[in-house]
């Protein structure tokens, strides 16, 4: 039996490894980048947050736009680097399990098939969609849980390019129920870039830096009005003000949060209560340390206050930005309502959150708070998070690759050559 390469080809990160393993062997950004010091575009070998390279003003090229593959040439380049230098697999003797976004266009599917069979020559291919893989993983993780009892779930995938709410029934995604918001991690980073560039320092070229800022400092607000009031305060009453130090290229090539303790203060703000005494004590300590540090670093830093929660807020209310789209809670309700009424209570009880953008602190609490008023009273709402939302899809793929069903789902190279792309695609039920 040949080995199976599981490849979750995301817009932001590629997750790749061999089927049957628990974690992907390789997680790299799906892009080429060119730092200022280089003339060529380079292949990333690790995620940017773990590399120590100087990425100031690096240019990026991504093969994926709005979640869909638009540049197969670039993707071929990235994949060949991935297969040859990172994974060390020979495509001709392996099978590929590839994730594809929902509602991929026929022309894009054809380009993908060409890439897999003609350029790399994989012996067989299975195309899966991410919601069903997440569902598969969750059912196998707790076989007695509600997700596996009810055999259906609502997978909310808030990723890099877009956000999907997809009902899954018996391992098949009900594509008539899927709803999409055109907002994901990329748009959030770009929005943060825009805000900081206007208010403090021009960081329009610093995608990697702002990704880091977003991951470290942004959080979801439970009550925007109240938090705006807190963010307006001066001095140590302001629990949200936080300073991020830009890299200077000499002593440190990575930006960092100046005072990580102070950055966590927003967690002290609980529902409806004002910050307690204990927090105030912490604040004084924090303030003293900031004063001490303030001397040596003067210009190359910026403060964030309300940006920290107004940026993720976009997912919950895209209308604030001028987008004519409903927020995440309403998106979920619409996805459920598109299904058969018998499924409604079960779907609300088994909402699974996945995707990198759900990692913002308090994402779940906020979603629950938004969703509850929209759901009929006699239904329960239960939101499950994955242990690792970024890898959830890949782990599902790894499970599928090691299951006995895998062989029957494959399209082999011979079949592709005989029948062509469109016919083979019918095998994947979409």
């Amino acid at each position: 039996m040949s080995n199976i390469v599981v490849l979750d080809n995301g817009g932001g990160l590629i997750k790749a490894g061999l089927g049957g393993e628990r974690n992907p062997a390789v997680v790299i950004p799906n892009c080429l980048y060119r730092p200022l010091s280089s003339k060529k575009f380079l292949h990333p070998t690790t995620t940017f947050s773990s590399s120590t390279e100087d990425l100031t003003s690096a240019a990026i090229r991504r093969p994926i736009d709005r979640g869909y593959l638009i540049n197969p040439d670039l993707q071929r380049d990235i994949w060949s680097h991935l297969f040859n230098s990172l994974l060390h697999v020979t495509p001709s003797t392996s099978s590929l399990l590839l994730t594809e976004p929902l509602f991929s266009l026929p022309s894009i599917q054809r380009a993908t098939d060409e890439l897999v069979f003609e350029d790399f020559g994989f012996s067989s291919l299975v195309v899966a969609d991410s919601p069903s893989l997440v569902h598969l993983y969750e059912t196998s993780r707790c076989p007695d849980g509600l997700v596996s009892e009810g055999r259906c779930s609502l997978v909310v995938d808030c990723g890099f390019s877009f956000t999907h709410a997809a009902p899954v029934f018996q391992n098949y995604t009900l594509n008539y129920g899927v709803k999409r918001i055109d907002l994901g991690g990329k748009a959030l980073t770009n929005y943060l870039k825009e805000l900081v560039s206007y208010r403090a320092i021009n960081v329009m070229d610093e995608t990697f830096l702002m990704d880091d800022v977003k991951e470290k400092l942004c959080f979801v607000s439970l009550d925007v009005e109240r938090d705006l009031q807190i963010a307006r305060k001066h001095g140590k009453d302001n629990l949200f003000r936080c300073t991020y130090v830009l890299p200077d290229g000499v002593t440190h090539t990575k930006g960092f949060v100046k005072d990580p303790e102070a950055a966590k203060r927003h967690l002290a703000v609980t529902d409806g209560a004002s910050p307690s005494e204990a927090v105030a004590d912490q604040l004084e300590v924090a303030d003293r340390t900031t004063d001490r540090k303030r001397v040596d670093l003067s210009k190359n830093e910026f403060d964030l206050t309300n940006e920290r929660f107004l940026v993720p807020e976009m997912i919950f209310q895209p209308a604030d930005l001028g987008m004519n789209e409903a927020g995440l809670a309403e998106c979920i309700v619409r996805a459920v309502n598109a299904c058969h009424p018998y499924l409604h209570p079960v779907l609300y009880q088994s909402i699974i959150l996945t995707g990198g953008s759900t990692l913002f602190p308090r994402f779940v609490e906020r979603l629950e708070k938004d969703l509850r008023p929209l759901v009929p009273d006699d239904y329960q709402v239960n939101i499950t998070t994955q242990e690792d939302p970024i890898l959830g899809v890949w782990r599902g793929g790894s499970l599928l690759a090691s299951s006995p069903d895998y062989d029957s789902m494959r399209v082999t190279k011979a079949e592709y050559e005989e029948l062509g792309s469109a016919r083979c695609r019918r095998r994947f039920f979409r």
């Binding site: 575009f41 736009d65 540049n71």
Partner: protein, 172 residues
């Protein structure tokens, strides 16, 4: 200002003028404010802040060694020079098409309404039309609208900053 009748005598260039898409959108529409808002949303999906077609060229040259590059440049000066138009055409053919172009090509509107597709999966407009406004300068809730460009601000101080820096930038 030139008079209108002098225009008839003046020889006009037949070259099609290349205008940036955002500019074209702003010029072509009567409702500049919505166009500017749309352009801003579009920009949220950009990878780099600059225009991306330029990079295709850079990359091709960057992949050559330095000596080769000098040689190539010399030679291209000596022999037949590529016209700008030919270059632009070649770039257009080589450049990857954006997803929106591919989407248009797929012609999903022609599918019958019960077939789920990319277009029908969009979540659609929110049920409530009310929208919160945040100050474009400081981020707090904004009560006032700039009369010239329609952006929001919350106070006199922010208005001044807005007028000095950002006002009319998109819609002028």
């Amino acid at each position: 200002m030139d008079d209108d009748n002098s225009n008839a005598l003046r020889r006009m260039s037949t070259r099609t003028r290349k205008v940036a898409t955002k500019m074209a959108a702003a010029l072509g529409s009567s409702d500049n404010r919505t166009q500017a808002a749309l352009a801003r949303l579009e920009a949220l999906e950009n990878d780099n802040a600059g225009i991306e077609t330029v990079e295709m060229n850079d990359d091709d040259e960057a992949s050559l060694d330095e000596d080769d590059q000098g040689y190539m440049q010399k030679r291209s000066k000596g022999t037949k020079r590529k016209t700008r138009q030919a270059k632009a055409l070649e770039n257009a053919r080589k450049a990857p098409r954006s997803f929106l172009e591919l989407l248009q090509e797929a012609n999903l509107e022609s599918l019958p309404p019960h077939v789920p597709s990319y277009l029908r999966a969009a979540v659609g407009p929110p049920s409530s039309t009310s929208r919160r406004h945040f100050c474009s300068v400081c981020g707090f809730s904004a009560r006032y609208t700039c009369v010239t460009c329609g952006m929001r601000f919350c106070s006199c101080r922010c208005q001044n900053i807005h007028n000095d820096t950002r006002c009319m930038k998109f819609v002028a």
